[in-house]
């Protein structure tokens, strides 16, 4: 639950910097005026006065509490307005909400992360966390796909991870340009070549619904059990409190009971990939 007493009242946060990650994605660096902390995978409601609020999972490290980074894809009214904001303005933060990634259960295991598009935002926060506990992990593999090379966010992250002990990072694009000499194809293609001990690993999937679906199918084919697959179901969340019902998925409120679920928990739900 949020630290502040009034659960509907946002904490003021100054927009300190805006980083352009791709033509349609920007990262907002915020300095909250009050104490604010979150667990990786939890989400916040980010608001602009007079415009509205929308849910986002922070992309920064939960270990850094003095600033918060939120990566926003331009998809609608609120996010389009956010993309026009300049450093110095104030925004509102409610939260954090939801359960986050159960990183303690990853100890002693290999972690396979499959991401697509803007789904790398929550994954980056998870990666920061996993880097901080890498001595407790066997290996971390990131497989990430974006539509084009210019749509790939956090480009320096990949080189950094590949130079970090126990970490491997792979990228692919759906459609290459002239300068791209890496892999071309969907993100699941990257799973063909990784070396992982499936019995002693967990998989995390975060990205667009199509990628989540095909990614999960491929992981099951590879031999993952449904309780080894963690899905970040960030959809239709509105109030963040399990009250409004926008994010209902079967017996769950995604905002309250998720957004991170194991595939086992939600596989019977017909709404899962919608």
């Amino acid at each position: 639950m949020p630290d502040n007493k009034n659960i509907y009242k946002p904490i003021r946060a100054r927009l300190n910097d805006v980083i352009e990650e791709s033509p349609s994605i920007k990262t907002f660096v915020l300095i909250p005026e009050d104490k604010f902390s979150f667990k990786t995978g939890q989400f916040i409601e980010l608001s602009v006065d007079g415009i509205g609020e929308a849910p986002f999972t922070p992309s920064s490290s939960p270990l850094i509490t003095e600033k918060l980074e939120v990566t926003v894809m331009k998809t609608g009214y609120v996010t389009e307005y956010m993309h026009m904001l300049k450093p110095g303005v104030f925004m509102g933060i409610r939260g954090p909400y939801g359960s986050g990634y159960p990183v303690e259960t990853f100890f002693g295991k290999e972690v396979l992360i499959l991401g697509g598009g803007c789904g790398l935002a929550p994954i980056r926060s998870l990666l920061y966390t996993l880097e901080s506990i890498k001595e407790k992990l066997e290996k971390v593999i990131l497989c990430y796909g974006s539509k084009t090379p210019s749509d790939c966010i956090y480009k320096p992250l990949f080189d950094r991870l590949n130079n970090t002990e126990k970490f491997e990072a792979y990228r692919t694009v759906d459609k290459a340009d002239e300068e791209w000499n890496g892999a071309v194809g969907v993100a699941t293609m990257l799973l063909n070549n990784i070396k992982i001990n499936i019995k002693n690993s967990v998989a995390v999937v975060c990205g667009p619904p199509v990628m989540m679906k095909f990614g999960t199918i491929r992981l099951l084919e590879m031999g993952y059990r449904d309780d080894q697959i963690y899905l970040s179901m960030e959809k239709n969340m509105s109030c963040g409190l399990g009250k409004c019902g926008h994010c209902m998925m079967g017996e769950y409120f995604v905002c309250r009971d998720g957004p991170v679920f194991t595939y086992k928990e939600i596989k019977h739900n017909p709404e899962i990939w919608k």
């Binding site: 759906d174 000499n181 071309v184 194809g185 699941t188 063909n192 070549n193 990628m211 095909f214 491929r218």
Partner: protein, 151 residues
């Protein structure tokens, strides 16, 4: 250029094969090298060899009516392609072009089919692996299609 059993053991496609089975591949295969932009085969070519990528990088795609090439993806080292060579009508469904200097293991498809007849266990294992390759390719294609439809 000669290839050895030890060489094949380092290639992911050949995981799970016994030394005797790897020997069969060696007897009916040769190594071929390609330069950048070399076309290994065109879409609709009749295929006589099935390939495993040993090193380098290959692009796979299809051509549309005006001969424009559309790249669908890249192939990874250790993986099999040109599977149409073992299935009638033996016509390729895509083109493959080298995008960097590349080395492949070229397996004679007719001789491979003959080996399947002689050695059913070997045939079953190999066809299962080929079916898995095709299944992944189909799944990835559906994924690409869904991506396009949901834009």
């Amino acid at each position: 250029m000669k290839i050895t059993i030890e060489d094949l053991k380092n290639v992911s496609f050949f995981d799970d094969y016994t030394d005797d089975q790897l020997k069969i591949f060696i007897e009916i295969s040769s190594i071929k090298e390609f330069k950048v932009k070399d076309v290994l085969f065109e879409q609709y070519d009749e295929l006589k060899e099935i390939y495993v990528l040993l090193s380098g990088c290959l692009s796979l795609g299809i051509s549309i009516a005006n001969e424009k090439r559309i790249r669908l993806g890249t192939l990874e080292v250790g993986h099999l392609f040109s599977w149409s060579a073992v299935f009638s009508p033996y016509i390729s469904t895509a083109w493959v072009i080298a995008s960097c200097p590349t080395k492949v293991l070229a397996i004679d498809a007719k001789k491979l089919n003959d080996e399947f007849d002689k050695n059913c266990a070997f045939g079953f294992k190999t066809m299962s692996k080929i079916a898995q390759t095709i299944s992944h390719r189909l799944s990835d294609t559906r994924f690409q299609l869904m991506n396009q439809l949901t834009i």
